[in-house]
Symmetry: C2
Subunit: 471 residues, 2 copies
């Protein structure tokens, strides 16, 4: 649950001065073990609107073996462990409500291998998606998953991140080929492998993807890569109605047009973007498109999508094929978080997401919009509409707790609405501590199986306790 | 391990006449519980070359609730359970070496829902892929995964099947959205859901996909569907060398050309196909292609792939755009199993597969071919080469046990070769009983995690015991 509680600073060290675990870790890591307040607070706070909860110490790891050694010490002393990548998670994944040790993996920055012919690579968990794409710049390859923030790839695997072009390239679930994981008892395992497919035993890779550090700590990630398309075309189109925009998306997807991105901004979101990025888009429900392919094929896709949009009241199609123009357009889309914060100076943001079958998307968004307006909170809507996934960005005055209360009620109603439509409480942000309360409603008896798996792998409940499940 | 042991018929009933489990199941199912020898033997034998191992009884289930009731009885009496779909598995998945009850799901034939706008459907486990596509015939949609055999969709999920067009549409892993599963204690769970993506908790769906009935019995499957492409173009091209053919594939994939299928037949396989399907393909390494898209785009893909092939010594490209011609071509590809059996009258076949990173594929196939020739067994090679996956079909005289011995040695060397190249012991056939011995070499310490999960969900080891893992 998001909490607006005024954040009292954590004491300089919460661990007892002679804490044997801290002593052991200091022996292992030297200056790469910190108990300084500022460091601990930074590691107990995320991008979103949750109360900071600092760990007792932060361990800056550099290798898988070091993570395993830290884990063994923590297991021996029965102390919780919280993994930390870039700190960009949104649902309370990195807070340490039970204290313990935060393992910061951001120093694990090596790209371990790039296999150009096989379109794959292996990276340490701390490499961010932008750093990887920079590393790949001369290969003709790229890693497409783009959740907006420059998250670490280990963190993206841990939360099953996705973002704008999941509609074409899939999510982390489809693009992680294998993992190196440190388990609760310090064992190191390698899951998956480099072949494109395998039926050899249980799919441990996808069990750890999205497990948010509750089953093990991801220290290395094997990823699929893609050839950079010869041509990219981007376009913007505004619609008379939100239902028209969504229906255009449904037909586009059904027609097999492989859109690389297709994003919906409601009129409130367009307004925020116009102000922030100095654009003059009509104040209407708007779709942002991007198409990848050969010159001919990207143009044909754009033309077909354009015809479909017209049939549903889409107008004023603006196309951008030059990289400069495309970048300007997509920068505006990527900046919605800051555009939204700028709507209300001094405000803090709280991002939440749900995902529904696409046939219910218009209905789900419209009812949610109505609820927002009637409740009287500020919350533009933006959506990865090709997947049926959309986000609310609540823009809240940190000094007005009633705003948070209203937002929480809107969020809860939105989640229950999504579930009643066959959807999920989170399409890409994960469960963290915020959405635990919805898991039973979504998965029913299956939650008991998740709990069995958790206890089998982490019987002491040391791995990021309090996240995803109550055990 | 494949075994050529002469198959003695199982006695008419192996269960004691007053077996209380059989009595209980008969009370539940009446005539849908069989202990007849012929029925039991049919259910203990697969398409491949493994010794038949009959269960004590076969239960013909019609609903999830019935499967759960059967499972509860078996748990109460600590007796093994083996799920059975269409009986088309290849690695000893359906044999019942420890007896117990085979649950035949082939009567679970209902297509429960088709959601056209959302491109998804839900089926009972016994629906076969052809039956589903027949059901979909007026919707403009299709389910693409095609392992060759008309397998049940529950069985395809359980073995993580794929086949010729996985290179474009993915495997069962990417196309199963959710499952209904009966657990070892009779609990019924629903995993996944209808939204295109979710980060809500552990990915149970993909844990059960490929678990071959060892963690639970899949009774319903939620699947992704696709719009039937406007145009399909197929083509055949022969190459001077196998390395040339594979290099053409690598560049085609790297260029982002979304081939729907790209299959490699070595010259021995081409010979078998020519004889069986009365074709006159040159006796050379040959690629079969298929492209899906709009008219313009499918043609452009074919043209681009053709140019690439030419650069690697590909010649005699033959194109087929008419459905009739495409069908003839792909029928020949689909019939390789029978074409191979026809090479040696009275022979039995044993199909095995491995998968490697595509950059190692030519090397892996050539070394395997050399080994086959030196060892002196008959084994054409066919491959889903876009994925790096290829198959040997050993064609064996059932009365010459030395042939099987040689084949087993070739298979073992092939698997170890694939593993040394970063590959997997099976790309799509699964582990069953045959490939258990390779799991440790492939996954190392991770096998201990698989075992922990197995014991957490099935502490009595009742679910398809002896498959995938030794517990």
């Amino acid at each position: 649950m998001a909490e607006a509680a005024p954040q009292e600073s954590a004491p300089d060290s919460t661990a007892a001065p002679d804490d044997p675990l801290i002593e052991a870790l200091r022996g292992l890591l030297g200056e790469r073990l910190s108990t300084a307040r500022a460091v601990r607070e930074h590691h107990g706070d995320d991008l979103s609107f949750h109360a900071m909860a600092a760990p007792d110490a932060v361990a800056f790891a550099q290798t898988t073996e070091e993570v395993a050694a830290i884990m063994k010490f923590c297991a021996e002393h029965s102390r919780p462990v919280v993994p930390f990548g870039a700190g960009t998670s949104l649902e309370g994944q990195i807070q340490a409500p039970e204290g313990g040790v935060c393992i910061d993996l951001s120093g694990m920055q090596q790209v371990l291998e790039v296999n150009q012919a096989d379109l794959d690579c292996r990276v340490q968990a701390g490499v961010t998606r932008k750093a990887l794409n920079h590393h790949l710049r001369d290969t003709g390859l790229f890693f497409p998953i783009d959740p907006g923030a420059d998250a670490s790839l280990g963190g993206m695997a841990a939360t099953s991140a996705s973002g704008t072009n999941a509609v074409r390239y899939g999510t982390m679930r489809e693009n992680v080929m294998g993992l190196t994981v440190v388990l609760a008892d310090g064992r190191i395992i390698r899951t998956g492998g480099r072949s494109r497919k395998s039926s050899a035993g249980y799919d441990l890779t996808r069990l750890f993807v999205g497990s948010e550090g509750t089953l093990g700590i991801i220290t290395e990630v094997q990823l699929r890569l893609y050839g950079i398309p010869e041509a990219m075309t981007a376009g913007v189109c505004s619609f008379e109605t939100l239902a028209g925009a969504v229906d255009a998306v449904i037909l586009t997807i059904q027609s097999g047009i492989p859109v690389a991105r297709i994003e919906l901004l409601d009129e409130h979101q367009v307004d925020a973007v116009n102000r922030y990025a100095k654009l003059d888009l009509p104040l209407k429900p708007t779709l942002f498109y991007e198409f990848h392919g050969t010159e001919t094929w990207a143009s044909e896709q754009a033309e077909l999508a354009g015809e479909i949009a017209e049939g549903f009241g889409g107008a004023n199609f603006q196309w951008a094929t030059k990289q400069e123009d495309r970048n300007k357009l997509w920068q505006a889309r990527h900046d919605v978080w800051f555009a939204n914060l700028a709507l209300k100076p001094g405000a803090k943001g709280w991002a939440t997401d749900v995902c529904v079958p696409i046939s219910r998307l218009a209905e789900c968004i419209l009812e949610t919009r109505k609820d927002i307006d009637e409740t009287g909170v500020l919350a533009p809507i933006v959506g990865h509409v090709g997947d049926g996934n959309f986000h609310l960005s609540f823009i809240l005055d940190p000094n007005a707790p009633e705003e948070l209360e209203k937002a929480e009620a809107v969020n809860e109603r939105m989640v229950m609405r999504a579930l009643s439509m066959g959807g999920t409480c989170t399409g890409e942000h994960g469960v963290g501590s915020s959405k635990k309360k919805f898991l039973q409603a979504e998965h029913g008896e299956a939650v008991s199986v998740m709990r069995q798996l958790k206890l089998a792998l982490d019987p002491q409940n040391l791995m990021n306790p309090g996240k995803i499940l109550t055990v």
